[in-house]
């Protein structure tokens, strides 16, 4: 503030030495035409309007540069940023060797905790199926005592639940925002949305917790009754899972970023990493699930992974494997209720500044008008992706049957699946590191990326060399 106050404000100017820096306000050089900027003012304005990570010193946007300079510029910015981060990490390690671990837990693991638990359970369904098929053969495999449709419904209803959950969350947001718009008051808007966002988080965790308790305790007088109970629990659980996606993506993105700030280089340079590093917790969830299932079966099956498996061992393995995430989800309910009281505080501050009181019908309409093709793109690509993603998973057991013909041990499949999760985790992490690279994300200049994928070609040669034969 001091610099803004001219010394003239305080009466007669006391004589002082020469203005060596040229920054002394009282004697600052004011250009003859007051509409023009001084060099100093110009440079400050430029530093705000032309952030150095996306503009050259002359104020040219990086994407406007000719291709050669563009590559050089992007590499320069990336290298400088990487160096800055490494130095910062080095410094914290020096001060406290475990500090980066804490940082990672707080900034990446915690935002993705919901997805971690969700990934665990979701993939548990596919992973545990071969065990059920081996133990309850007449029910899960030959459909003698159980209805085939219900067994197939395990796959369908899980997904249906997720869709219901997603629609529910979407509806929840619309309702809250709509209320907010109707009231038309910023304050009520802040409260309404604040409660809405928070409520959404708690609601998801609670539904998932109840779903898990239901899964852990699922019982039936007959095997078929048990399968039906299991399927319905899954449907319920899926509803909670559906809400996790938008919550993780949007809150991860917005909480991390101070949209209200003048410069948002953190957002530009690391938004993708921030969000995907929470998202990849889903991969860790799968990883943990597979590891735990293997351990549990070994524990309850007297240290052996070979068939035949007893019904008792299967029961314990499956119930304990669901009870563990149930405890985790209960903690999540606690955490969201008591530790995340202002889940979207920063977002609201940004919104207030933009004078956007929330989500009105007009805004939604505008989105369809202006961003209709984008909706087709994001929804369509996601659809295509999930055919692969879930398909890959559901179908894994069949696939392994091709790989290892005549196999009866559940363990073999699980070990393959374990390896598969390990490989996808590499993919998750690599994506997380490269996603903010300006030449990488979508298409176009992917030569850079192909350079990286050269590693994987070599990798496949290793596969050919039977390095990974199990």
């Amino acid at each position: 503030m001091a610099a803004a106050d001219s010394v003239r404000d305080y009466g007669l100017a006391v004589p002082h030495g020469p203005n060596l820096t040229g920054e002394h306000v009282a004697t600052a050089d004011i250009p003859e035409n007051p509409g023009l900027m001084t060099a100093k003012e110009q440079s400050v304005l430029n530093s705000i309007i032309y952030p150095p990570d996306i503009y050259t010193e002359d104020g040219v946007y990086w994407a406007d540069l000719p291709i050669g300079q563009r590559i050089a510029f992007v590499n320069k910015v990336n290298n400088a940023e990487a160096r800055k981060e490494l130095i910062a990490i080095g410094r914290t390690i020096k001060a406290d060797p475990l500090a980066p671990v804490g940082y990672y837990l707080k900034n990446m693991v915690l935002p993705g905790a919901g997805l971690l638990l969700e990934g665990y359970v979701l993939f548990s369904i596919g992973n545990i199926k071969p065990l059920f098929q081996a133990v309850f053969k007449s029910c899960w495999k030959t459909y003698q005592v159980c209805d085939k449709t219900w067994i197939q419904a395990v796959d369908y209803l899980e997904v249906s639940g997720i869709i219901i959950g997603k629609s529910n969350t979407t509806f929840l947001f619309s309702r809250m925002f709509f209320f907010d718009h109707l009231s038309g008051q910023v304050l009520v808007g802040i409260l309404g949305d604040w409660l809405g966002r928070r409520w959404g988080l708690i609601q998801d965790a609670t539904i998932m917790f109840i779903g898990l308790v239901m899964l852990t305790a699922s019982w039936g007088v007959t095997l078929n009754g048990w399968v039906i109970c299991y399927v319905l629990s899954l449907l319920f659980y899926g509803v909670g899972v559906g809400g996790e996606y938008p919550m993780t993506a949007t809150s991860g993105m917005e909480n991390a970023v101070g949209s209200g700030k003048v410069s948002t280089s953190e957002d530009r340079l690391h938004r993708g990493r921030k969000v995907t590093s929470a998202f990849l917790m889903q991969g860790w969830g799968q990883f943990l699930n597979q590891a735990l299932l293997i351990l549990l079966l070994l524990i309850f099956h007297h240290g052996s992974g070979e068939p035949p498996y007893s019904k008792v061992a299967a029961q314990w393995t499956f119930r304990v494997s669901f009870a563990i995430p149930a405890a985790g989800t209960l903690w999540l309910v606690y955490y969201r209720t008591y530790k995340m009281k202002s889940a979207s505080k920063q977002l609201m501050a940004a919104k207030k500044k933009q004078k956007v009181t929330g989500y009105d019908v007009q805004s939604l309409k505008l989105t369809f008008t202006y961003f209709g093709p984008r909706l087709i793109a994001t929804a369509g690509t996601w659809y295509m992706n999930d055919v692969f993603f879930y398909g890959n998973k559901l179908f894994q057991n069949d696939f392994i049957a091709v790989l290892v013909p005549g196999n009866t041990s559940v363990m073999v499949g699980w070990l393959y699946s374990f390896l598969n999760v390990g490989v996808s985790l590499c993919g998750y992490y690599l994506a997380s590191f490269l996603i903010d690279h300006k030449f990488c994300k979508r298409d176009g200049h992917f030569i850079f990326c192909l350079g990286n994928s050269d590693i994987f070609c070599r990798w496949s040669q290793i596969y050919d060399g039977d390095w990974f034969r199990l």
Binding site: A3, V159, T169, F173, V257, F371, T381, F395, F456, S460
Partner: protein
Amino acid sequence: MMAIGFACDFILFTIPAFNYKYYSSAKGIHKFQAMYFLSSFFNQFGPNSVTFICAAEVYPTPIRATAHGLSAAVGKLGALTAAIMYNYLSTPSIFKVVPWFGLVGAILTMTLMPDTTGLDLKEQERRWHFIREGREHEYHGIAIHKQHLSLLERFQGKGKGYDPKLDYEQKVEEIRGEWLERERAKAEEKEGGDSGFDWEHDDWNEDLDTYFTRTASNSPELEGKEKATPIADENGLSEKRNV
């Protein structure tokens, strides 16, 4: 990453599809296995991670959660498709059907998906602000740079308004707006009122005060008085805007 990922999934599923016998034999099985793992890898590396973030970052804040939820729900329909399809198709035919989903995904990515890497959310919100007020054509910033538009949007001419020079001038005026708000808050607090201004997150560079003070109004005697007369500043601004 996304297009490559889709393309790789396509290739990695197509190869075994047309030579299934070889790859499911003892001789080819390890190549098959490698391809399966690679397809998992590329699925994560590409589309699975990218769809998750793109579905959120290409939309303006007020509807971001809805758009993401909607996209994800459609995505789960894909999972449902897979679940149903896999129950009805034999293993070799799955390999013949599934890759095409990857191809369609790659095409959708290349034609309709904008690349907003390195574009901050704030700039996108700035554009949205113009759209909301029905002044889309007055926006000249980098959010409509061809780099950040999809092929279709480029084709539709949405990037025509891009003009760095006009954008610079506009941004100076926007910063002036911030300055005015700040001055007004200061004046209000001087009189004992609570302006509700977030001083804690204020990172205003005071070197700019001189410029905005000088150019707030054309009368030079305003200097040093502007704190007491915020209204004059507002008039100054509207004058400026009308020019």
